[in-house]
Subunit: 421 residues, 2 copies
Amino acid sequence: MSSELPAMSPERPAMSTEPFSVGLLGFGTVGSAFATLLQQRAAHIERLTGRLPVLGGTLTTTEGSFPEILDSSDLIVELIGGIEPAREYVLGALGAGKHVVTANKQLLSQHGEELFDAARARGAQLRFEAAVAGVVPVIRVLTESLAGAHVERVHGIVNGTTNFILSEMTRGSSYEQALAEAQRQGFAEADPSEDVSGRDAAAKMAILARLAFGTPVHLDQVPYEGIEHLQTDDLQYARELGLGLKLIGTAERRDGGLSVRVHPAFLYSGHPLASVNGPFNAVTVESDAITEITMSGPGAGGRQTASAVLGDLVSAMLSPVAPSPPLDPLPLVQDVASGFYIHMEVADRPGALASIAQVLGEQGASIKSVAQHGLGEHARLVMVIHPLAESRLREALKRIAALDFLRSTPRAIRVIEEEFM
Amino acid sequence: MSSELPAMSPERPAMSTEPFSVGLLGFGTVGSAFATLLQQRAAHIERLTGRLPVLGGTLTTTEGSFPEILDSSDLIVELIGGIEPAREYVLGALGAGKHVVTANKQLLSQHGEELFDAARARGAQLRFEAAVAGVVPVIRVLTESLAGAHVERVHGIVNGTTNFILSEMTRGSSYEQALAEAQRQGFAEADPSEDVSGRDAAAKMAILARLAFGTPVHLDQVPYEGIEHLQTDDLQYARELGLGLKLIGTAERRDGGLSVRVHPAFLYSGHPLASVNGPFNAVTVESDAITEITMSGPGAGGRQTASAVLGDLVSAMLSPVAPSPPLDPLPLVQDVASGFYIHMEVADRPGALASIAQVLGEQGASIKSVAQHGLGEHARLVMVIHPLAESRLREALKRIAALDFLRSTPRAIRVIEEEFM
């Protein structure tokens, strides 16, 4: 953590003596995760932006006063959810010229234009990356990277709960079993209807459609179908046809207009969304000039959503010019450990494998798998070893090459294991 | 195209009378694609930003004067490539307080700090999304969305040429055959050494490492290995082990420092980069708070790179506040055509399939595939049909349900075909 590193960059920008005060509305799962993350990253953010972000006040269901928090804050983070009182507070903050960061998809999909107008009227920023697809930066990409583009279509898996359930059903579970498993693992709420009906995804697609096509779309204008009526055997038959089933949100130009809708859909296996499994979100944006971009990542989760809120906060504090001066630059490390695939051709004689394994063992290598293929008098030996420093791998290869039964120079290629999720 | 639409939004912002003058340095593949795209999107960008972007001057190998172009431009787009004279021009522009957009990975990976310092000294913007991974918005995401994050690791397929060659080799081609095919399709240059050696990817990883870890990394500090020595049978053996081969760039925290490197690597099939095939780029960013984000899209290509440059231009012109007022809002379309999967249970009797096919044909449906499964006296009939309007599909289902040999209500699920690439 940068906050533990004592050295200050010699190019550290001059600090304002004033901290940057953040008013936090809502202290549920996301709100408390945001408060924690903000504290962890505050020193880093101060060095990026020149001001130390601090929580100036928190409004919970039982504590705090909105007018007081507003008065003392440079920026309001709204994580209450739902329409009222969130709408009143966000409009109040924007009307006072304060920047707002929110994760509230209901509010944006039903009162977006009112909020956008209020922000523009006072020149305040309204940022809402966390409202759609968690930490997947689709809002920023649509509003900034693709602001000048002529978007043709947006396809999204924007509800992680239903994607998890459908992944389970593809593996043979019934809908009921899959839903119960989602609830057990915390991916579905006790009342899952907002997710499984497709309504949550419809709200998110209304927001994406507004940004991609400059067309106000109200949640009520988005027809949606859920996943409650899907049968496990549909997924089995579909697999025979090379199809995978997802709950897909679509916003696309059609017949001179715009179609926005959410429904289950089969995807051919080559589709970039077809391989998105489990509680993940992914969005594909198509346009003539860019062909297509796909972005994916974990859907919801308090810490992920909080991270998206924090990114918006930093953007609101920062006028992006060039990258900041080097902060806590790290030393460059060269001799790193990797897993390796090793290919050898050896005379097919007893003891060859044992000798090679001994050389590897002397260098600290641990063998993960071996495959041997006969080849007349020779054998091809292919091994995968667990992570080993490059210097030790080189030494092992040198010693193996010197063994009298080797028939060609051994080849090594690094292997990257699954390290996350 | 918005330029063909006559109606102006009633909320259209007041226009400055001054156009926004863009000086273009370099008029090769990307430069000419950028000039075309800018002209096509100029009216749209004027409505977003309030100023009409115009090409104020173009510097080619034979025409134009840099001092004159600089003097008359609000922003410089540098698409010459290489170190000199690009470095001199970019420093000159930043020194004059002009914003710069560049796609120059060589320059950034070898003189990045000098350019960043020059930009900060004058408060000028230096944007370079197009320098890494084409239209995949990894620069923006690292510098903005993840500015406050503690990144652990960046993995990238950042060279489309080598990814195309490796995809061909996975299908059995030799390296030489695959390279020749890449050259034939325009994915590799006549002299491919910059790509196949890994040096191009190393330059891009140096840039990403600087942004993700705040640590200046020079191209010369990035060890790289290419793909020239890979054997087709390595890819075959690896497939037996469940591994796919990619040229991977890595920047990660290791042993209290930073390791940045490029080399071929095997990926387990569940890795988010394992399914990225052909001339595509993809980048995965891992961090504790976000878990991981993956972004993918076409690698290079003049029009794609030009689109990334245009996105940077719009960002430089725009101070993002709230989304702009609705521009050319589109009518909402409801009755769209989709492909459909249809599941039916029927009495197993002659003529059932023919009757169903007739009903579908009356509604204009065209059958793409059929599968029939016996089930005692019943049969399950699963069909996939080509795109059909929803209203017609509903009518067909109603008529099918009324057929006397139907044993259950037919179920329909939409199918999304591969429409791009």
